[in-house]
Symmetry: C2
Subunit: 597 residues, 2 copies
């Protein structure tokens, strides 16, 4: 018998004992992190499915796995023999988990799950859909008992850089947070989001892949602040700093008891996105809970002058590393001996050579030819495509440094490229440059300016199925809110006004399945321009300085304004990056950034 | 003693008798119409203030008038001697009416007003703000008894054009409305909005200035439909049509009793914007009321092919009338003998000469030089500025025809004009043309495309403090929803996706106080372009064909693309409009539309 069938049957016994009708397992940690540590991969343990998105539902005579279009083929393969049915999310006629439960449950039934891995919104929606007759038993981690050799919870030591690099002390940040709590009429605030916690305490960690964060919770009241963190993550330096600021250090695992106790003042603020269903339920019992945006999200999203100054420098060095890689690939590399994976490794090495380098900000994407059309493609040592001296290589990569997080994409030719592809490349560059030069009134959100990047493509009936830009952390998550640049209206997503000091990516692209993928991505800072009777005007400053492949540009298509913008950008690339290059690289860059006429 | 002081004192006596602490009078009819008939101008009667926006609050020792920035000077003048205090809305420290009442009322107090002139939202907000201890007495028209010679309620005969011109019969429209009611899970729908009622019944009226609508209410149930209209507005032809479709005709004044009776099935749909507070209160007593968007708003907003075909023709004739006027003003008129008002009259005469002309779609705006900087300027016979052979005249005007409503603005030189002004004119034209040529994916709202019109101005640090475009009716109101083109996010305003068949204006401008005002306005229809794997692309077709003053264009500033777009537009203007012109006018138009190099 398949090992998984055995385990599921054991699980069903435990469910019976616990009185649970359906048991539900998600793919999430307790903090809504983008990357999930092995410790939290219970769904993978139970189902054998390894994709990054998938939720498992188990009943006495049923087991089903829900996943999205990226994983249909992989899931089908991996689920073979498991007796788990595949539910293809988004396909017509396929019910959501909520709909499935609504259809199969009757009053008196109990749905079990670990509510720390479920968002407040999902839990509330589920309860609403199922009605009060069905119980949500949200404090169940049934599979834990079956999981022999469960990986241990990650617990790396806290990292404690000098506070000066953050431009604001822990005390100042606490004051800002308390001011925001007051505006919301709340006397306390519970924060589960790891990057928010790190930002507030001016600490870093390494418990989540590519995210310099430590597993933790923070509770702030009008006079006190509590930091829940694993004992063995604490270091003397971190402890000293926290003590200096009178932050109470508590064991990570004590958070639930703490929330249950009535230490926390009555009006509690929780973040609508990262507060877990279980936390909400616990707090709700004895508190008035206000569900809103975490005050930290906006405070963290607007970088202060010290942070911006550090980021400028970090981006120059990071840009230089990528420029060196491109130069090497274009001029020296023995391309036929390389594949997408070894190319990525090589680029990572260029970054690792930087003195301040800590980590990648996400696993490097390296896609050759048609593989670049897959937006979230990750080449591995086993599956990587061999490179050739033709077509294009797309590399999307970034690093974590004490002075900032980087994110940059370039697509460049390794040899001859078709005219259609060059056309697409040119239109992408045109849109990217147009958005860079946007000038707009204060009050605009990303939805107002998105069309500037997309228009050259839309004019030709081409779209990219993703946003144009996202916020970027300061030595924190490479994807952060609240701002973004998108065109679609999503009712569940709040639109944030673009504030001076916000950092956003600008990454239009073209993705033609089976043929080619192009993305050109710079990171920009929202800056203040003139203020007059008509309002405060804003624009963008660029942080990324890496050449855009001139070989792939069709000058007429770029247009007069586009050519001026590209030439001006390339002039700056040369001026800013050449100091970091060898003589040979410098010569190459001079040509690579020469004006297009 | 000032007559108004006497009247207010009498009103105070009535208030005492009725147990009313504060009496509140708005500027609105029972239907939220844009123009308010004299019958409804109770606030003007009581206060003497004649502006189009102002609300009066009267207490035993207090009387205050709230109005907006457009009217501060006028109100101050008109209120002299009235003992009514002026509350300048929007100025710092000035409370809103709600805030004032919150501050001055105590439990047990009663606020009296005619709730038919108050929106559901305002009423709800007020009640929420004041709390349950304060009573809103919403069925009070106290001043009626004091108003000798109150104008009678307008009551013009219904207009009954052949149904064919609407592209859908009353029966088909009823079916569409019922389908939408069903989606909302409602068995009945109460409609107060006059243009919605006219659209549904394929009738027109003339009870509101410039709006071809009749004072009326409509109630639709799953099987019946009721039309509440003044007896003497009914004509034999209209009656015959309504009888054919089994529409119950009821006296206008019976609506409240009807809503109070329990004839209407339980789940009632009302429109969130036009349902009055009183209607909501009555219905709420014995019904479950769903407050949502009127299903008619979107149905009416998307024009069908028959309507579009009529509009195309109507716009050509209307464009020709304006073109003739411009030609006359530029080549023949004895300008120094004219003023803004006589110019407007002349333009209105050109429109009146059109065989199908019924009415203006709004009072013609004719602003010379600095007067054009006032967005809602209306020259009167008394205050009009004399014209000269220099500077620019802005005319914003439109007509009502059985086959559509028009709205068009042109600004043109009467003589020499400064270079700065020409720069502004060119940037406005550039933005207008860029928006006209927008290509965008289905799902975009006006917020996504607005920046295309604004960008040339924003690049120079200039903005216009209004939306770029609004929906236009089909022989109905010149301003209609649900779509619009704006950049600002207003939480109270729903954003509507741009649907093929929607008609919108495109009217960027520059308004420099004390110097000049420019607006160039065309009307466009949303049209379908290609559909492919990336989605359904949409664009705009233009309906308005009137030359844009070439004398005011700086070719280099318009740019290569702008010049191409303008030349192409002007070619079409000549091709489409010249058949309506005299030999002489044709010659002028040829020059006026010659390509710019």
């Amino acid at each position: 018998m398949d090992k998984r069938v055995e385990i599921l049957n054991k699980l069903r016994e435990l469910m019976k004992e616990a009185g649970v009708t359906y048991y539900y397992v998600t793919t999430a940690d307790y903090h809504g992190s983008e990357y999930v540590n092995d410790f939290f991969k219970e769904r993978e343990f139970l189902s054998g499915f390894t994709g990054s998105n998938g939720n498992l539902l188990v009943g006495q005579d049923f087991a089903g796995l829900w996943t999205d279009g990226r994983y249909f083929i992989q899931a089908e393969k991996e689920l073979q023999g498991s007796e788990i049915a595949l539910y293809r999310m988004g396909e017509e006629g396929v019910p959501t988990v909520n709909e499935f439960l609504k259809c199969h449950c009757k009053d008196g039934d109990v749905i079990g799950f670990d509510g720390r891995t479920i968002s407040l919104q999902f839990g509330k929606d589920l309860q609403k859909k199922l009605g009060e007759g069905i119980t949500l038993a949200d404090q169940q981690d049934l599979a834990d008992a079956l999981w022999e050799n469960r990986p241990s919870m990650p617990c790396e030591p806290l990292v404690c850089f000098p506070e000066e690099i953050y431009g604001a002390s822990l005390a100042e940040k606490l004051e800002q947070v308390r001011a925001e709590m007051k505006k919301e009429n709340c006397q306390s605030f519970v924060s589960s989001k790891l990057d928010d916690n790190m930002w507030l305490l001016n600490l870093r960690g390494s418990d989540v892949e590519c995210n310099p964060v430590a597993l933790s919770y923070v509770v702030v009241t009008e006079v006190e602040a509590y930091f829940f963190v694993q004992d063995s993550a604490m270091t003397p330096v971190a402890k000293e700093r926290l003590d200096n600021y009178h932050i109470h250090i508590k064991p990570y695992e004590d958070i639930m008891t703490f929330l249950e106790s009535e230490v926390i003042p009555k009006n509690v603020l929780v973040d609508q996105y990262s507060c877990s269903f279980t936390f909400y339920r616990i707090l709700e019992k004895s508190h008035s809970v206000k569900v809103a945006s975490s005050p930290i999200v906006l405070l963290k999203g607007v970088k202060n002058p010290v942070e911006l100054q550090h980021m400028e420098q970090v981006y120059l060095e990071d840009s230089a590393a990528l420029t060196k890689f491109i130069c090497y690939m274009k001029t020296k590399a023995d391309i036929p001996s390389m594949n997408e994976y070894t190319a990525a490794m090589l680029l990572d090495d260029y970054r690792r050579a930087l003195p301040e380098f800590q980590d990648l900000s996400f696993p490097t994407i390296s896609g050759f030819k048609e593989n670049a059309a897959m937006m979230h493609y990750e080449a591995t040592a086993d599956n990587a495509k061999r490179l050739e001296r033709e077509g294009m290589l797309l590399v999307d990569s970034g690093g974590q440094y004490p002075g900032g997080t980087t994110d940059v994409t370039r697509t460049f030719a390794l040899g001859p490229v078709d005219t259609t592809i060059k056309e697409h490349f040119t239109l992408v560059a045109k849109g990217m440059l147009a958005l860079t030069h946007a000038k707009f009134l204060y009050g605009c959100t990303g939805r107002n300016v998105d069309i500037l990047a997309r228009q050259p493509l839309w004019e030709r009936g081409i779209d990219y199925k993703c946003g144009t830009g996202h916020g970027v952390g300061y030595d924190l998550n490479v994807h952060e809110g609240p701002q973004n640049i998108r065109w679609k209206f999503l009712p569940e997503m709040k639109e944030a006004v673009l504030e001076p000091g916000m950092v956003v990516t600008n990454e239009p692209g073209v993705y033609i399945e089976g043929s080619h993928g192009i993305r050109t991505e710079n990171v920009m800072v929202v800056k203040t321009l003139e203020k007059n009777g008509d309002g405060q005007f804003l624009g963008f400053d660029t942080l990324t300085y890496v050449p855009i492949d001139r070989e792939l540009i069709i000058p007429e298509l770029l247009g007069e304004i586009g050519r001026e913008q590209l030439n001006e950008y390339h002039k700056q690339v040369y001026d800013k990056i050449s100091p970091y290059l060898s003589r040979e690289e410098k010569d190459w860059l001079q040509e690579a950034t020469a004006p297009i006429l």
